[in-house]
Symmetry: C2
């Protein structure tokens, strides 16, 4: 049992009333720099500021009435937590979000602002998991993993679905589909969608050199865990999930790695020329295109801009 394109189209029907159909934008200046035709799917405008709303809404809206009443749980300090909070809110249930005690006040406030309950724990994975399990035992709430979950993968695949549909309405068919890879929820969903709708297109992922477990796993053909990740792209720190990996092995053509410097450069280009606030993780695919020495010719590249949640007081330039 795994995820199919049917699951993705069903997910889209399920979540469409709750999420934004985000726009697809281009920049002549960035096209000239890269030497191709780039189309950016603006998930920085998505609810909660990232594509994560898609997977979270699909998971929460897949629960039956009895289950949803008991609430949902996750341990995350990032975009997934905000997404789960929003999704729970839309079904009038509670989201318990386990966050490490050293998470920033801003992140806690954001998650609480979306209506979730924040439970603090010691800043180690074992304690996060133990705290979440305790909540599950006490409440019967459903655990929602940020990426290693079929419903989440199906939800994330709807971003590429909308991008490909909207571009085809304006006569554009993509040669390459790109997204960043962290846990592999977005990549697995994007790859399944691209394979079904654009069987001739290449699916290319990008990740930071400082968190290159996906690239190493992909080359080795076995899952290699990410230890001690070190990158500004804070959405891409985790290891690829067990559910995600076989989908990626089967449907992705290439995984490229990029330097920290090129991520910052790409992020700044998007801010400067597209007037879009995007987080470092979102800039990783453009960084890969900028770093490659070959030109794209007139190839059409669709890129998922994964999110726009960034600390405006700590910009990397």
């Amino acid at each position: 049992m795994s995820v199919t394109f049917d699951d993705i189209t069903q997910a889209h029907g399920r979540i469409a009333p709750f999420i934004h159909r985000t726009p697809v934008y281009s920049s002549r200046i960035i096209n000239d720099i890269v030497g191709g035709q780039l189309f950016f799917k603006c998930e920085n405008f998505q609810k909660g500021g990232a594509f994560k709303a898609r997977g979270a809404f699909n998971a929460v809206h897949s629960l039956d009435e009895a289950m949803v009443k008991k609430g949902v749980v996750t341990h995350s300090s990032g975009n997934h937590a905000a997404a789960v909070a929003l999704a729970a809110n839309s079904r009038n249930t509670i989201a318990h979000v386990v966050m490490p005690s050293n998470a920033s006040a801003v992140k806690k406030a954001a998650v609480m602002g979306y209506g979730a309950t924040v439970i603090e724990c010691a800043p180690i994975l074992a304690d996060r998991e133990a705290t979440a399990e305790e909540i599950i035992r006490e409440t019967g709430a459903t655990f929602l993993h940020p990426y290693d979950d079929e419903r989440v993968i199906a939800g994330q695949g709807t971003a590429a679905l909308e991008m490909i549909e909207d571009l085809s309405k304006t006569g554009h068919s993509l040669d390459i589909v790109m997204c960043p890879v962290g846990g592999g929820g977005l990549l697995a969903g994007t790859a399944l969608t691209a394979r079904s709708l654009l069987p001739e297109a290449q699916v290319i992922a990008a990740e930071p050199l400082g968190a290159d477990d996906a690239k190493r796993s992909f080359d080795a053909g076995v899952l290699i865990e990410q230890t001690a990740p070190n990158t500004i792209a804070d959405g891409l720190l985790t290891s690829v999930g067990k559910t995600n990996f076989p989908i990626i092995m089967q449907n992705v053509d290439e995984i490229l790695t990029v330097s920290e410097q090129s991520i910052v450069h790409a992020m700044r280009l998007i801010w400067q020329h597209m007037k879009l606030v995007v987080e470092p993780s979102a800039a990783v695919p453009l960084a890969a295109l900028l770093s490659r020495e070959v030109g794209l010719g007139d190839k059409k590249v669709g890129i998922i801009l994964s999110g726009g949640n960034v600390d405006l007081d700590r910009l990397p330039w």
Copy 2:
């Protein structure tokens, strides 16, 4: 002879093939903070990064073949210069942009990147004007004023036209239309459009306390020149134009002034919650809404986000 709403609809027909029909976005979080329903017309996504393209394209595309061959001239170091360069380019003619010798290398490069010729002069208005006049004598090129020009006013009025049209398609009718005021090109055009399409709506302008000539002129009923402006909103430093002032007196309901602190606060809210890169001038109307002590109730407010050209190395927070 002045500008009418007919001139604005004609301008729109003239420039529509060349400019972006920019989107109108909302933010639930900002609505909750302000206590109203706000709609932002995203001219930060316009060609050249600001609404100025509208006026410049209308002016340049109003020239006959003989005139356009001789080129156009302007003296500006800001968004108008880039807009004139783009507009001249679209008619395969030359734009001469007179810039003070102390203008930043970034601004010069941007204008040259759009295909214009930059002529340096001493950083005083008299020298800028003398240099421009010399070019006109030598080349017969047409001078394009950044705001004190009927064709420019008509062009700028097309932003509100699109905003009101697009909102009416989704069933929204505005109670208030807002924009910032500097020279008054955007305000005069916006006010004429709003008066024609939404005769019941209020037209409210906003400007920095540190450059409040429009407010003082409006209250006095006579044009008062701005001397020694001091504000972060670098698009709003100039005095209101002679052509613009009577249109503003006749069609604007109120001009509000805002502090520097409130401009920075409003700008940051737009970046943080809407993921839009906007320049300080664009944030001035939201700053005015944030500063007023009365709530808006459920009033619908349309705001022109004037532009997104900001130095990412010098953010005000």
